[in-house]
């Protein structure tokens, strides 16, 4: 039972991270019907910029004196960095292909993904890059179950981000415009919504969330690697599909489920095949209910 609860906690942590990445896929797909293959790389870039900034702060000795400020700064700057990266990528590689076939855009996205992960490798090296310090060591122990401070921090942070995103999308004028653009770009233009700006914004938000997830993964596992974006990227995409692609609530739920399945699969079935479970779910969902658990109708549940 203790083992089960421990796994549950780990699963929630991982699921939250997947949910953050999945949101980027789902939002971009919702607005321009493109699987943004480079999204996993935004996540990896986030992990790297996070480690660079935290190491820098640690090198200056600021980590000892103001750990929370350093962490907050790192999160903000990293999210900004990735948003900036994503907006540029969108302008360069996706915007000119908006009216081309979807295959062209998809291949372009694939190219961007390969490019970015190799750019990370060339600038940061092929080896794992460790996160500095023992910032969040320790935790609460309840018998055999441990909840680390880090897990609490990650889950809290995830919840904060998810709630803010929900407010942004469902309560603000910008969010309304985003949903309108997702439903009908021509009509949006006819009521003075510039779809290119909205699409840029969507990319920026998605990448920002992925960047936050990148730092969390770095902190959680202690290191980052240049190709770390690939597998979590596909898993998060599976989560987005599972929740019904284009559906924000669905992506959150899907991320949580994929995280749980992975942790429980690894814990109770086989650790070696933990990466397979997410794919099996993806394939099963696409086969039996392609609209996902939350998707009512693919056409009009986007964003």
């Amino acid at each position: 039972m203790d083992y089960f609860i421990q796994q549950l906690i780990n699963g929630i942590t991982l699921g939250g991270i997947y949910a953050l990445i999945a949101l980027g896929y789902t939002m971009v797909y919702g607005v321009i019907q493109l699987i943004n293959f480079a999204h996993g790389e935004f996540f990896a870039a986030g992990g790297y910029v996070g480690v660079i900034l935290l190491s820098y702060f640690a090198g200056r000795g600021l980590m000892e004196t103001h750990p929370w400020i350093c962490l907050g700064m790192s999160f903000m700057l990293t999210m900004g960095y990735c948003a900036f990266l994503a907006m540029g990528v969108e302008k360069v590689a996706y915007l000119p292909l908006r009216n081309q076939s979807r295959l062209a855009a998809l291949l372009s996205a694939l190219g961007v993904s390969i490019f970015l992960s190799n750019a990370l490798m060339l600038t940061q090296g092929v080896f794992d890059k460790p996160y500095p310090g023992e910032l969040f060591n320790g935790g609460w122990e309840f018998g055999l179950v441990t909840i680390s401070y880090l897990q609490v921090m990650i889950v809290t942070m995830t919840i904060v981000l998810l709630v803010s995103l929900n407010i942004l999308v469902f309560k603000t004028k910008m969010g309304m415009a985003m949903r309108a653009t997702a439903q009908d770009k021509t009509m949006s233009a006819l009521v003075a919504i510039g779809s290119n700006r909205i699409i840029s914004l969507t990319f920026a938000i998605g990448a920002g969330l992925a960047a936050a997830a990148g730092i969390m993964v770095g902190l959680y596992y202690g290191s980052v690697r240049y190709d770390m974006g690939f597998v979590p990227g596909i898993k998060a995409f599976s989560a987005a599909v599972l929740g019904g692609i284009g559906n924000i609530t669905g992506a959150m739920l899907g991320g949580l489920i994929i995280g749980m399945v992975e942790i429980f699969g690894a814990g109770y079935i086989s650790g070696q095949y933990k990466d397979v479970f997410a794919f099996i779910i993806l394939i099963a969902v696409l086969y039996f209910k392609p609209t996902g658990i939350m998707g009512v109708n693919v056409d009009d549940t986007r964003v």
Partner: protein, 239 residues
Amino acid sequence: MTDPILELKDVHSGYGSIKALKGISLRVYPGEVVAIIGANGAGKSTTLMTICGIVKAERGQVIYKGQVINTLLPEKLPTLGLCQVPEGRRIFPRLTVMENLRLGAFYRKDTDEILKDIQKAYEMFPILGERKNQEGGTLSGGEQQMLAIARALMTKPKVLLLDEPSLGLAPIIVQQIFNIIDRINKEDGTTILLVEQNANLALQAATRGYVVETGQITLEDDSTSLLANPKIRAAYLGE
């Protein structure tokens, strides 16, 4: 007469290699209701889409209030007072009626005025007030058409372009819609450019009319003369 508020000079446009407009020229004067009639695929809707910049004009000019607008981005135009209610209504189906209306006022910053205008829209179309929290996609065709017009009015248009407002609606609803169009023109002084397949209806509502055939204007006249024209009666009024 005064200067035209909207003028097309030899406009060519199309989709890829298919040329839909082959030199359209027309003028709309302030306060008028002008109808464009023609058969299916003659280029009526493309004309409106070209005015709004959704379809790019390859040649020629679209001039609005003395300014060439076919180089502007489509999303600029509603802010200048040029708004279209496109064919098939194109309500945002998963947004509520209220949200649809607020999106019409997307570029406006005057929050209080927007709320007032929304109230005005509910007065004009009481059914929308009743359904303000319902999603647009659940409305009936006539209600959607009303919502589309109301949404366009939220942009405070000087010129309103209407594409097939009667399409797929019951005759009684069509009559209501045309009464409203008349009201918009008379009360707010909004200039209206109306595209219709239902030539009879359109010409009765309009002061002037243009006939479009295969991407070109073939006839231009007062609507009374057009209605009396035997050719028009034969081709578009089914006599």
